[in-house]
Symmetry: C2
Subunit: 68 residues, 2 copies
DNA sequence: ACATTTTGCAACATATATATTACATTTAAC
DNA sequence: GTTAAATGTAATATATATGTTGCAAAATGT
């Protein structure tokens, strides 16, 4: 499933996928694939993205619907 | 760094590493290595662990100290 | 309309999470 | 103190996240 919360947080900060990727230290494709839900990123990468976007893990990667 | 919050949540539920691993669908070693901080787990595995232990990502994997 | 930036997508290479098996060590029960 | 369960650790194998390059498509600005 696409991660729309991540994309929203990114554009709210006025960052392109490439800019966010450089801040976090990964490739542009990796950011794109995470946003489109085709990658299962590592925890450390998720945390890096959260810090770059001033959000928490729950903000960007926790879906209340799924929590049983 | 060791993930002490994960270990605490697990023992609070009275689960061994092996039992949690079976619930989540990974090997016992994987749980042990995550607890001892030697693995960088995938997001989906983190979410599976959270659901199994009735916690959120922030509860188990977000360190307030690190958030800049 | 054109130019530029942004994003999507594909093929291949590499790094690393995870599985499996086995054994050692610690912990808990008796 | 012995036994069994729980955990640590190591070697090798596999799956997959991620990098790199390149090109196409879409979006944005002028």
């Amino acid at each position: 499933m696409k991660n729309i919360k991540l994309k929203l947080a990114r554009v709210e900060k006025d960052l392109s996928q490439d800019e966010l990727a450089k801040i976090v230290g990964v490739s542009r494709q990796t950011i794109g694939l995470i946003e489109s839900g085709k990658y299962n990123p590592s925890l450390s990468l998720c945390i890096g993205i959260c810090i770059a976007l001033s959000r928490t893990l729950n903000d960007l990667f926790w879906d209340e619907e799924i929590k049983d």
